[in-house]
Amino acid sequence: MTLDTGTTAWLLTATALVMLMTPGVGFFYGGLVRRKNFISMVALSFIVFALVSLQWVLFGYSLSFGGDIGGFIGNLDFAGLSGIGMEAGDAGYPPLLFVAFQGVFAAIAMAIVTSGFAERVKLSAFILFALLWTTLVYDPLAHWAWGGGWASVVGSLDFAGGTVVHISSGFAALAVAMVIGKRSGFGQYSMEPHNIPMTLLGAALLWFGWFGFNAGSALAANSIAVNAFMVTNISAAAGALAWLAASWYRGKPSSLGMVSGAVAGLVAITPAAGFVDVGASIAIGAIAGLICYGAMLFRLKKGLDESLDAWAVHGMGGLWGAFATGIFATVAIGGYSGLIEGNLNQFIANAVGALAALVYAFVVTLVLAYIVDRTLGLRVSEEEEYVGLDISQHGERA
């Protein structure tokens, strides 16, 4: 097949859109912390993006998409992008474009994990952790689902990374939060988000970029991409309104709740976007909004300082999305049937894929965080935490 310029154009665009999501996460998170850690939150996202971009071309891509080793990880045949041609292969676009597109996914996954580190992480330790996590958690999970690993073999469906990106990062953030411990003062006095408009800006960039994330994952400018685009938007809308309504019921309809619900809807539709129709996407989004809202309340009740709710929104939203894919998949859209069309196997395959990823991501993250904590120390000193990471880690002030 020769190069298809339309598909190439769309994947170039989609890659750029997904790239923008990483600073989007930075601003989303940055608005939620206290002013003294605003720069730190945004900077962590940028640093992740730069680090993971390099890791990806050096060996991360190869670990994810290289020749399969035991269903678990790829080999190093593509390390340094050796053997990645520029000629369009069977897919109609240059393989190098696939590398670029997949690379921005790896970056945003790690950016989401910064939630668990918020306002207390030591920069040097964070950098080490980020490299380890991407290599030992993200890359294997990408291989499982998309690189020919066991999950794709058992038939677990993950269209655009609900499991690979969201379950993994959400549960990783939870593990990180447990190792690094609560922010000093957490639970004693309120830590009001210092700049909600910046969070709304981040949410706008995320919603925008997610069209590249999901519709780009069709890997073609075709009707699957169009369907993914549409259900992505509808699920986000439904999630936004569901969380808004639920928080209204219990108090006031906060804008933060609304955008958190939108992100919940976006997360949940991610694994499903190529397999479900618009009707299903309303249900998937709305239920995601409610589940993630509930998860956040649960987290608060437990006094867990997974500070910016990556677990509640990405982890639990991703989990719901994986199940929902197994429930709502319809042969008319993507060629697969889910539970509703009577295919219990699909549901089981998806549940297995999701839960295995969850356990793997949680446990390995726990171990990595523990190791980094014992060696470099994950956390800044109390005094540094008090003056804030902007000043103590970056020597800057927002």
Partner: protein, 109 residues
């Protein structure tokens, strides 16, 4: 000399400035503050818990004036700042021992 320290509604600031100008008092120092008094608080709410906001944005004006001008200026401020509703603010008068102009070094007391 005295310092008149008036805490007023932000949207009355222009009126108070004008009123003071009409009294020949141009110099002043202004800063945004938050206050509570008889005005009740409001309950805020974030993704999770609720926060009570009982500090309402106000503007604080400090004017240092001769003793003789105090009453006149207080009246002017009161009139300009008043809406008649709770939250109109307070004025405090503090003694000032001296006042120095940085540019010239000239002192008054």
């Amino acid at each position: 000399m005295k310092m008149i320290k008036a805490i007023i509604r932000p949207e009355r600031l222009e009126f108070v400035k004008k009123a003071l100008e009409n009294q020949g008092q141009y110099g002043m120092t202004v800063m945004p503050v938050e206050g509570r008094g008889d005005q009740k608080g409001i309950s805020l709410q974030y993704r999770g818990g609720a926060i009570i906001v009982d500090l309402i944005p106000k503007v604080q004006i400090e004017v240092v004036v001769k003793d003789a001008d105090v009453d006149r200026l207080i009246n002017a401020i009161c009139e300009a700042a008043k809406t008649g509703k709770i939250g109109d603010g307070r004025i405090f008068v503090l003694p000032v021992e001296r006042s120095i102009k940085v540019r010239t070094g000239e002192q008054e007391s």
